[in-house]
Amino acid sequence: MKHRTFFWFFLPTGLAMLIFIAAPIVSVVMQSFFVPHEAVLVETENCGPFGCTKSVTIDQEATEQLRANNPLGRFAGLDIYLDRGHLAVSEVAEAWRETDSLGAFFSDIGDLPFYRALAFTLTYTFVVTPLLIALGFAIALAVNSLTQRLKGVVIFFSLLPMIVTPLVGSLILFWMIDSRGVLGTLIQYLADDPGLSLKASTSLMWGALITYGVWHSAPFAFVVFYAGLQTVPQDTLESARIDGASRWQQVWYVIVPHLMPLVTFVALIQLMDNFRVFEPIVGFNAAAHATSLSWIIFNDLGGETRQLSAAATTSVLTILGVAILLSPVLVRTWRDFKGKA
């Protein structure tokens, strides 16, 4: 295809991505280096027969002028990155100096909003991903041995947790696990502790969020692995069987190696997607026990005071996190491309 033709074909989608993805990224990075102007204050002295009083008022005109001259705000350099709401460098250094054990250090760090969110986001990402792969693989193996007619029905129901809106799905689970819900009652009964409640227990809340994550994403792994199982070479299985491999050995030495590229694919996709965990925290009303990077951004942007600079800084840090997770995918794509060329 000629460059010219390519250009015209690609122009609409290219423009859309340039204006609404590339430009906002630049704008977010810029915003993270600037803070809004403070109002210009003027001090006036009112003198009367009973002495002088000083009063401070906002000079509206000068403030407007300043904002119009520098719409980005005051240049702050890395200040926002290092402040308490983000990397909190001075707080971390202080905690390092004043605590005497690693445990105490980490619990101090855990009170800082950014690290609290980062801790949950990373835990969620790296716990949910392996679990959903294992669960998806087990479902795929079980479904694969069903008769044709049953398969359709089972696949239909298995797709539901993944297709359903994340916020709605997490609400539906939350209403059941909540202390007044049916599963919550069951948990209280099993633990023999009528006071046990999702709202009061951090570990229970983390467990519930992770359960939601596995429930929501396992169908994706299942579908991918199920499709992969259809392509397992029957000859290899046959010869393994003739050599006397047990069923477990067939799975471990023939099927798992065959599916390994798919496992990598699912793992990479899910690592990226779980890193942006957000809706379940809103749905489970979990902010008191668990926050995530995306949730912090949302929280800063919402409400009456839209803290754009703070949100932009967290956004940049989140994008950096995604970039680290994405790098193996990029290397892989690069190798595929080189292999093809």
């Binding site: 295809m1 000629k2 460059h3 033709t5 390519f6 074909f9 690609f10 989608t13 609404f20 993805i21 430009a23 906002p24 704008s27 977010v28 915003q31 669960l135 087990a138 479902i139 089972v154 696949i155 239909f156 298995s158 797709l159 539901l160 297709i163 359903v164 809106t165 994340p166 709605v168 609400l171 539906i172 059941m176 007044r180 819900g181 049916v182 009652t185 429930w215 169908p219 991918v224 499709a227 992969g228 590229p261 694919f265 942006r276 957000f278 809706e279 995306s294 951004i297 949302f298 800063d300 942007l301 919402g302 754009l308 949100a311 956004s315 989140t318 994008i319 997770l325 990029l330 794509t333």
Partner: protein
């Protein structure tokens, strides 16, 4: 026969796998059934502290309304709280997002699949990076210009933003679908004197529908399920269903509102239910398209 008997699985294994599947199906489907059933009750039954069987029998509902079922949650959500408007907005957003993103996505995806220049690779890589970006990280970049130019809060703004966020995924998917359509097809049309666009229009468009429908399904799901972007970019009147459900929860925690949220959630799941029923095959093939290939 011998092979078949060798493959027959021992009874304990069959039992184990059946029990496991039943457990999984319960986990996958039971929450929906339970919530759908409970949406016709009052809150005291849906969250029953005294006795969980009340959620099944609807004792408090019977005391209030004289029947074990009530449509009060649905009436409150749809009529009183104008959930119908949110449903309408979601319909509009999804329709325009799917149409626009498929139109520009097909053109772009076709161009990417038919060009072998070096920049194609870099464009695809850029799209991949954009696809990995959580959409919420872009929102603080949208807000200042949208406020300044009075674009904030309107449906068309949200539609365009969702289209753009959709593009990277759409491009990747359509790119791989177009690669499966033989190049000879449009090349022979070019030899017969068609321009590239005519070749696309008369030769490719008639055969591209399976791939386009599958991609459209995923665009639809992205627009329908979005919370972060629509919640941040739409004002109260233009809210779509998902932010509206979140708003039911956020307002003061009165008895009615939780049940409004329950009823609204069930209403929002029904279209997805039908979608999976009709398009199960396309969804499965779409999910595996990227995976099995690479």
């Amino acid at each position: 026969m011998a092979a078949a008997s060798a493959r027959r699985r021992p009874a304990p294994l069959v039992l184990l796998s059946t029990v496991f599947l039943i457990l999984w199906l319960l986990a996958a489907a039971f929450p929906f059934l339970w919530t759908a059933w409970g949406s016709f009750k009052v809150e005291l039954d849906f969250f029953s502290i005294t006795d969980w069987t009340n959620a099944l029998t609807g004792e408090a509902t019977e005391n209030t309304y004289g029947r074990p079922f009530t449509g009060a949650g649905y009436f409150g959500a749809w009529i009183q709280e104008d959930f119908w408007r949110a449903a309408l907005n979601t319909g509009l957003v999804c329709f325009f997002v799917v149409c626009t993103s498929l139109t520009i996505g097909t053109l772009g995806g076709y161009a990417l699949s038919r060009s072998s220049h070096n920049y194609v690779f870099w464009l695809l890589i850029t799209a991949l990076i954009f696809r990995a970006m959580p959409p919420i990280t872009l929102v603080s970049g949208y807000l200042p210009p949208f406020f300044q130019w009075n674009l904030w809060g309107h449906l068309p703004t949200a539609i365009i933003v969702l289209v753009a966020i959709n593009q990277p995924f759409t491009l990747w998917m359509l790119h791989s679908f177009f690669q499966k359509i033989p190049k000879d097809l449009d090349e022979s049309a070019r030899v017969d004197g068609c321009t590239q666009f005519e070749a696309f229009r008369f030769v490719i468009i008639p055969v591209m529908w399976p791939g386009v429908i599958t991609t459209g399904l995923f665009s639809f799901l992205l627009a329908y399920n979005d919370f972060a972007v629509t919640a941040m970019l739409l004002n109260e009147n233009n809210r779509t269903m998902v932010p509206k459900i979140a708003a039911f929860l956020g307002t003061t925690y009165t008895e009615g509102n939780v049940m409004f949220a329950v009823a609204a959630s069930v209403s929002a799941v029904i279209p997805l239910f039908l979608l999976v029923m009709v398009f199960q095959r396309q969804i499965v093939s779409g999910l595996t398209a990227g995976a099995v290939k690479g």
